[in-house]
């Protein structure tokens, strides 16, 4: 097969996975939140309301989409594209198993973070172009979130890179194969990564750019129909990508302890990877149903006065451990 054909098939597979994730995650969120609130969630369409999201897709596709009169037309129509394309491209470097990777990049981790940070640009464009006060407030808050999460998130992802000696996501998983999952030697980094990632994925308690209960729909207030659909598909997809990164960095990716690698090199590994990722997402939804939203100035204080110094200290400690001896951190050479 020609390289272009192979590449096209891989990208189309990623598009399919992204759509599937969107449909499944929205249903899952409704069910999980429903049961956390002691109610049932969707029940009407299909067994246990399973087709509810599909019906919503049809609804979104066939809804009237009036363009508000005062919007900045170019940016207003471009914003869903600026949000969607990076969200999709973030799937490129994810190692579903040692043979199922769209693009096996040597700087995969950095690439994923870099491409995900573009999403904020699209969100700001959407909020500013909408000519709406709710949207503007949401857009300004989303920049505040970016300013808060990015440095701690990147620093919290550093200890696994230091131990594995690689930014290639598949290599980071392979480094955990021979020893323990990195959550054991990097437990504090895992906690910082979780908190910073909740901000990155716009998840409650840090969902202030959207904040349904105060800003209508935040940056997406003036968006309707499929433009809104794409914005929210990206958001769910980013949650998935963040959870997949967490599984890769801290929970051994496609590997399982005591299971020989031969069983997990192909599709089997991808199944394990997806199950782990969905378990992480379930925990994020549990957090979402449990904690109240924080204030924006509390968010900035948390990021700069707690997470940033703590991650820096932990990097120095990890560096010392890596230098002083592999024996200290589980026999990684």
């Amino acid at each position: 097969m020609s390289p272009v054909l192979i590449a096209t098939l891989r990208v189309l597979a990623a598009v399919g996975l992204m759509l599937l994730n969107g449909v499944v995650l929205i249903y899952m969120l409704r069910k999980v939140l429903g049961h956390l609130h002691v109610r049932l969630g969707p029940t009407e369409l299909g067994p246990a309301g399973m087709f509810q999201t599909l019906a919503d897709v049809v609804k979104l596709l066939t809804k009237e989409d009036p363009t508000p009169g005062m919007v900045d037309r170019v940016l207003y129509f471009l914003a869903p594209l600026i949000v969607f394309v990076p969200s999709l491209a973030a799937y490129a470097a994810l190692p579903f198993s040692s043979s199922i990777i769209a693009a096996d990049l040597d700087a995969g981790l950095l690439f994923t973070f870099a491409i995900l940070s573009l999403v904020t640009l699209g969100i700001f464009a959407a909020g500013w172009a909408s000519y709406n006060k709710w949207s503007l407030l949401g857009a300004m808050r989303s920049i505040a979130q970016q300013v808060t999460y990015e440095v701690p998130l990147l620093l919290a992802a550093l200890p696994p890179v230091m131990i594995a000696g690689s930014m290639n996501l598949a290599d980071i998983v392979r480094a955990q194969q021979g020893s323990v999952w990195f959550i054991v030697p990097c437990f504090p980094a895992f906690l910082f990564f979780l908190v910073a990632g909740l901000i990155e994925a716009n998840q409650t308690p840090f969902d202030m750019s959207e904040a349904e209960s105060e800003l209508v729909a935040g940056f997406a207030t003036e968006y309707a129909s499929m433009k809104f659909g794409l914005l929210f598909l990206s958001e769910f997809s980013n949650t998935f990508v963040f959870s997949a990164l967490m599984v890769t960095l801290f929970f051994g990716g496609w590997t399982l302890p005591f299971v020989p690698d031969a069983l997990l090199s192909g599709v089997g590994g991808a199944v394990v990877f997806m199950i782990k990722t969905y378990l992480v997402i379930a925990v994020l939804m549990w957090v979402r149903g449990t904690l109240p939203r924080v204030r924006i100035d509390q968010l900035l204080s948390l990021g700069w006065k707690v997470l940033l110094p703590a991650t820096l200290v932990w990097i120095v400690i990890t560096g010392l451990a890596v230098k002083l001896g592999p024996a200290l951190i589980g026999g990684v050479s």
Partner: protein, 126 residues
């Protein structure tokens, strides 16, 4: 040769991610435009403000309370970019303590900067 081929396939994949992603967006929005009913009215295109008549526009000078944080963010984001290549190589056999200590000094200078900004009240919402 092997390395070169691998690199080129990956660049194609990344490029196609962007092209197909953009095409998918355009396709979806066109489909929705074709399928949706169109019944415009002056009320539908006004700014949404919970039903009341809008007062004033949103494109005003908006005070960003996190302006100083944003300046610090630029500095620390660049620091992180320097840290990543270091994190990959510093643990390799044959690379001595010098590289490690150098980076500790670099981190210490930036941490000192953060402490100074903190003391001067830059890390405060205003």
């Amino acid at each position: 040769m092997g390395k070169g081929r691998r690199l080129s396939l990956e660049s194609i994949v990344i490029a196609l991610f962007i092209v197909i992603g953009a095409a998918f967006t355009v396709l979806t929005l066109s489909a929705s435009w074709l399928l949706s009913p169109k019944a415009p009215s002056p009320e539908k295109i006004t700014m949404y403000e919970c039903g009341v008549e809008p007062v004033g526009g949103p494109w005003v000078r908006f005070r960003a309370g996190y302006y100083v944080y944003a300046l610090l963010y630029v500095i620390f984001d660049i620091e992180v970019v320097f840290l990543y290549p270091w994190a990959v190589t510093f643990g390799r056999p044959g690379i001595g303590w010098f590289v490690f200590i150098e980076m500790i000094i670099f981190i210490a200078i930036l941490a000192g900067g953060l402490a100074y900004a903190w003391k001067e009240g830059a890390l405060r919402w205003r």
